[in-house]
């Protein structure tokens, strides 16, 4: 395919972020950009990046195949990733992956028959304190179990967009790929999406409780309802 003029304009704006003569730094964001248009990085996408940056297609191809977030086959609206690294697997991450794989009828890096969901296992997602975790288009669903994981993908299949535990209201894979390219979020309320759950605040809540001198020895700390829940900016 040939890319629309708009994509050319956006590619230029990405290049401008980097110092003069250093346009190659724009390559990773530009690969996210072409992926947003085509659902994966195609030979045409590689060619487009090469032309915009004055590189050979071999140079761009070598980069595109190095990174796991650039996909070789089209991703539908939803990229569903289950963490199976250690902290998640200690609490059932592998079982959740296996169960969801059976439920969807696809394995790692495969898409469902209708093409809407691409399924994968992920390595540690820097959310081990919320284990087991999964993501949809990289927004976090924390403390999942097989039932809630099935519920989530079923809802996606029904055209619903369940809110993530931490992250912005769901947008499509194409839209999140544009954000990865550094373009503005699809939704104005994306930035306000929640970010702090109890595990992030675990130590701080102890300090706050101690300073209130209301320490009840066995009571697990809880977030101050006003502040923790208002993190979402609601």
């Amino acid at each position: 395919m040939t890319f629309p003029d708009e994509t050319v304009t956006e590619a230029r704006s990405i290049i401008e972020r980097y110092p003069a003569g250093r346009s190659r730094s724009a390559l990773l964001p530009m690969l996210h950009l072409v992926q947003s248009v085509e659902g994966c990085v195609t030979p045409e996408g590689v060619k487009f990046c090469a032309e915009q940056l004055g590189l050979t297609t071999a140079e761009v191809g070598a980069v595109a195949t190095f990174y796991t977030m650039y996909k070789r086959r089209p991703v539908g609206d939803w990229l569903v990733s289950v963490c199976t690294n250690l902290s998640c697997t200690l609490l059932g991450g592998q079982e959740i992956f296996d169960d969801l794989s059976r439920h969807l009828g696809v394995g790692h890096d495969e898409a469902t028959a209708d093409g809407t969901i691409t399924f994968e296992h992920a390595e540690c997602l820097a959310a081990c304190d919320y284990a087991p975790v999964m993501t949809v288009n990289y927004e976090f669903y924390d403390h999942v179990d097989p039932a809630s994981a099935r519920g989530l993908v079923d809802a996606l299949g029904n055209g619903e967009r369940p809110a993530p535990t931490r992250g912005a209201p769901l947008c499509t894979f194409a839209e999140i790929s544009r954000e990865l390219a550094g373009l503005p979020p699809a939704r104005a309320d994306a930035v306000a999406g929640p970010a702090a759950g109890v595990p992030s605040l675990a130590g701080l809540l102890i300090a706050e409780r101690d300073s209130r001198q209301a320490s009840v020895a066995d009571e697990p700390p809880a977030p101050a309802t006003t502040s923790a829940s208002s993190d979402g900016g609601s």
Binding site: P19, A195, L201, A202
Partner: protein, 431 residues
């Protein structure tokens, strides 16, 4: 030992990711103080504070900044390593998501000190909400005159770009990160030359971890004494410890360097109910595992070396007595094999071999020779590969066999995993 929220102190403040709330919480005050000082004075303060890198290696930050040649006529760069991907590590992500301006403020001060006019945050691709909030914070900071030209009338100019990666653990290695930021495959560079003289675009570059740079505003506003009042002589300051795995209340606990696992577990409600501590990592999967024997070892750079491990990223993955150490070693070996960048043979070939041997053992078809072969292979990988990824790859195996050899043996004498029937309890013990 108390909890000492310094970097995390604003995390329960409503909407602190916005400039307005951050400023109300004394945000950007340290920056104003910094502009009253000469850049070299800031480097000296950071040196005197004893701050050591929080990205894993613990290199003294002020010394690193001092290596940047000044008056050389070249552009200088500050690159923030936000590639957080070391298994178990989950401190930089919440910091960037919840309190992004604290990182931006640290970046401006650090750039002023080393005289960098361009700074980049290389955020691992998957952390979209962190990158999103950072981008929003950067836009607000430009609008308020904290970034751009002649910041706060100081005469100092700085541009800051948030750059999302694309999924590759090796890009956390600082020279691989620089190659990736230059639009290449993320593979480590030969050193020397070091980034301090030949970094980004072959120019003098400081690469620092998120938590390292977020510590800087506190050092400037609180002073060296206050920073040093926490922690130990050679590893001073507060530190975010991340507890995960089989622990009652997993999460982020900011305490003085040198706190022990016993103290941290007390805060976190202990190992999950009815179970005993079996093994733990002090600093992510690349640091040798320790056991209940080491509950009282001080968690700082020196203390962990004395205990036979490393502080790494202070990511404490807690494993209780239902955990199979062969399965653990296998899962991590698969991670390293997948993430090996392929540049050098010991790591590329070696990690693949480690996976196949561990698989054999876990499936009950291994033998005594497999344990010898594993140790021999690890010996041939450790210290012989191009970068530290490979050293990390052998840690879970070597430390696993050191402390739990019987369990590796049982996998072939009993013809299978002795923990097979506890797998089903894994989920029951979850939430």
């Amino acid at each position: 030992m108390p909890v000492t929220p310094v970097l995390t102190r604003r995390w329960n403040t409503a909407n602190v990711h916005t400039l307005e709330a951050y400023e109300q919480a004394d945000g950007y005050q340290a920056l104003r103080q910094a502009f009253d000082l000469a850049p070299d004075d800031i480097i000296k303060i950071v040196k005197d504070s004893g701050l050591r890198g929080r990205g894993g290696a613990g290199f003294p930050t002020g010394m690193k900044w001092g290596f940047i040649p000044q008056g050389d006529g070249k552009p200088h760069y500050l690159v923030i390593n936000a590639d957080e991907g070391e298994p178990g590590t989950c401190k930089d992500a919440p910091l960037m998501m919840i309190d992004p301006h604290s990182l931006v403020e640290g970046i401006i001060i650090a750039s002023y000190a080393v005289r960098a006019t361009n700074a980049y945050v290389y955020v691992r691709g998957e952390l979209v909400h962190a990158a999103r909030r950072l981008r929003a914070a950067v836009a607000e900071a430009y609008a308020a005159g904290y970034l751009g030209t002649n910041i706060l009338d100081s005469g100092f100019d700085l541009d800051l770009v948030i750059h999302s990666g694309a999924g590759a653990y090796i890009c956390g290695e600082e020279t691989a990160l620089l190659d990736s930021l230059e639009g290449r495959r993320g593979q480590p560079r030969l050193r020397p030359p070091f980034p301090a003289t030949h970094g980004l675009y072959a120019s003098p570059t400081v690469v620092n971890n998120v938590e390292t740079i977020a510590s800087v505003p506190f050092i400037i506003s609180g002073g060296v004494e206050e920073f040093r009042s926490l922690g130990r002589e050679r590893s001073p300051g507060p530190k975010i410890f991340s507890l995960s795995g089989h622990v009652t209340r997993p999460g982020q606990y900011e305490v003085p360097m040198g706190t022990t696992l016993r103290e941290l577990l007390d805060m976190a409600g202990g190992v999950r109910e009815g179970r005993a501590l079996k093994a733990w990592t002090p600093g992510g999967s690349s640091t040798p595992m320790l056991t209940a024997e080491h509950l009282d070892a001080p968690l700082d750079f020196e203390g962990m070396v004395e205990a036979g491990s490393l502080l790494g990223t202070a990511a404490l993955m807690i494993m209780d007595d239902t955990t199979c150490m062969v399965r653990t070693a296998l899962r991590l070996a698969q991670f390293y094999a997948h993430e090996s960048c392929g540049k050098c043979t010991p790591c590329r070939e070696g990690t693949t071999w480690l996976v196949s041997i561990l698989k054999r053992l876990e499936n009950g078809v291994g033998d005594q020779q497999d344990i010898d072969t594993l140790l021999d292979a690890c010996d041939n990988i450790f210290g012989r590969a191009f970068c530290a990824l490979a050293d990390g790859a052998v840690s879970p195996i070597v430390s696993g066999i050191k402390f739990f050899k019987d369990e590796f043996v049982a996998h072939y004498t009993e013809g299978g995993c002795p923990f097979a029937d506890t797998r089903s309890t894994v989920l029951a013990g979850a939430h």
